[in-house]
């Protein structure tokens, strides 16, 4: 059905269709509309779920962990300070192999106080064992949320999934949204190690040095297996609903000499920049990285890369640029732009490409 929705509404609608048994949440700008909408669905009987309003994000994740440990589907949403406040519990969720799904409205961390888009919040949770996907439209926010449940709960994965959408830029924009009848796209939630009162067991007990590393390796093995599960899920989604996704969304990359790599909405804006540059005779393309964990394998050949980071690792560099450099031995032109909602237009992105200096780092609005 064709509707019109914000990114937040799209996520909430997908969650309604995925039918989680438990939603535990604490509101935070610019995510609040997601949990507000879900609370409304539950209140009006449109959705059957146990909605638990908690007193903090640490508790919302703890409640999802508790729910998931009993073997049911659970969901929460957060942003920025809320995400880092639940950091300890994020490790717990992945370590306990609980397929919780969470939406994160990407937002800068203070101080200075800022409520606008930045990827530093989720990227600082890079090593928690969560799968991370970054979306670029309202439609994709809906589609990726549906797929997240299927991927997380797959027996080869059993890891939590974080759907990231740019705060305000995507959470609050109004775009067309085609919703689907999901049928049996998401199979019933089955967690083999769920709490069973008939067969009591210990959870989170002391794990000695002789055992701990085995559980860590198991997380990594699942993370590697998730690559196939993601591909299979995206293929099945395309077969059923006609919209195709891949770990990297490539636009005019095939014959490109230079490719802009970005995540989220800047990756969509980069497509318009590529069109402009093509008209000037510069063979440009855009590669929008959707999955950040597991980190996708990409063959850029000998193309030059302009990487836009809406984040920064102080004392090191743009996180995406550095990861691409480490993974593929390339020397990108690293652009730091869009921090805290800084305006970045397709014209600006075209400018980054025209002025690129491989190996250099450019802070938009700061560097000359």
């Amino acid at each position: 059905m064709l509707t019109v929705a914000t990114g937040n509404k799209a996520v909430a609608t997908a969650v309604k269709h995925a039918k989680p048994a438990v939603v535990a949440a604490y509101p935070i700008t610019p995510q609040t509309e997601i949990v507000e909408q879900i609370a409304n669905f539950v209140e009006t009987g449109e959705m059957e779920a146990n909605y638990i309003p908690v007193e903090s994000e640490h508790s919302s994740m703890a409640a999802c962990i508790g729910a998931s440990a009993t073997g049911v589907r659970s969901f929460t949403a957060t942003s920025s300070h809320g995400l880092v406040y639940m950091c300890e519990m994020l490790h717990w969720a992945a370590g306990a192999r609980l397929p919780i799904v969470m939406a994160n409205a990407n937002r800068a961390l203070g101080p200075g106080w800022n409520i606008w888009a930045e990827h530093s919040d989720s990227l600082s949770m890079r090593d928690t064992g969560w799968l991370q996907v970054y979306v670029g439209s309202v439609q994709e926010a809906y589609d990726a949320t549906l797929m997240a449940f299927r991927i997380a709960e797959h027996e080869d994965v059993m890891l939590p999934v974080m759907i990231n959408l740019d705060g305000f830029t995507l959470t609050h924009i109004m775009q067309p949204l085609e919703t689907v009848d999901i049928g049996d796209f998401i199979p019933p939630c089955k967690i083999a190690h769920a709490i069973d009162t008939a067969n009591p067991g210990g959870y989170g007990t002391l794990t000695p040095p002789t055992e701990h590393f085995k559980f860590r390796w198991d997380i990594e093995r699942a993370m590697r297996d998730s690559v196939d599960v993601i591909r299979e899920t995206e293929d099945e989604f395309a077969r059923r609903f006609g919209r195709r996704y891949a770990p990297v969304e490539e636009y005019r990359c095939d014959d490109a000499d230079v490719v802009v790599v970005a995540m989220g909405t800047l990756g969509k804006e980069a497509e318009v920049a590529a069109d402009i540059l093509r008209n000037e005779g510069i063979r440009a393309g855009s590669a929008r990285l959707r999955w950040f964990r597991p980190f996708p394998a990409i063959d850029f050949g000998d193309k030059e890369l302009v990487v836009i980071d809406r984040d920064y690792s102080f004392g090191y560099g743009g996180i995406l640029a550095r990861e691409l450099q480490a993974a593929f031995g390339i020397t990108p032109y690293s652009v730091i732009a869009g921090l805290g909602g800084q305006e970045v237009t397709y014209d600006d992105i075209a400018g980054f490409v025209r002025e690129r200096k491989p190996g250099a780092e450019f802070w938009f609005g700061v560097s000359d």
């Binding site: 019109v4 610019p30 609050h172 109004m174 067309p176 969509k268 318009v272």
Partner: protein, 175 residues
Amino acid sequence: MYEIRLHSRGGQGGVTAAKMIAHAAILDGKYATANPFYGAERRGAAVVSFIRIDDRPVRVYSQIRNPDLVIVLDATVMETVDVLQGIKPDGTVLVNSPHPVDMKGYPTSRVDLTAIALSIGLVLAGSPILNTPLLGACAKLGLISVESAREAIRETFNDERNVQAADQAYEELVK
């Protein structure tokens, strides 16, 4: 792509107006987005919303710098904001005003949305509702169809006076 920048004050319904215009365009079979700029504004502060309408999916998320159309829901914002900033050379203006307004030579339409809202009692918390009649004016300008304007209003508000106000604005717009 047709780009509209809408100037209003917090509490006047500019954000909802932008959403309804985009919604109506989508109902017309086009692609559209509405992205208000959310700041720390409070009721009464000058705010701005952006609407893009195109025949293909809109991939742009940044603010509109060179609008085709500038809509001014509250003429007093012009005392502090240069609403014509960046307007395209062939751009046009739509102002909520009972009188003709000189917009530096840019073709300007006007309609008294405030009077329309007040005349049929469309008042919320002491403020006249300007966004639903605005859709009628947009339909008259050919941005959206009358049917889609009505449908977008009805999907947002369940008070038929909003549709009546839009119809009235459609009739009263002075080009």
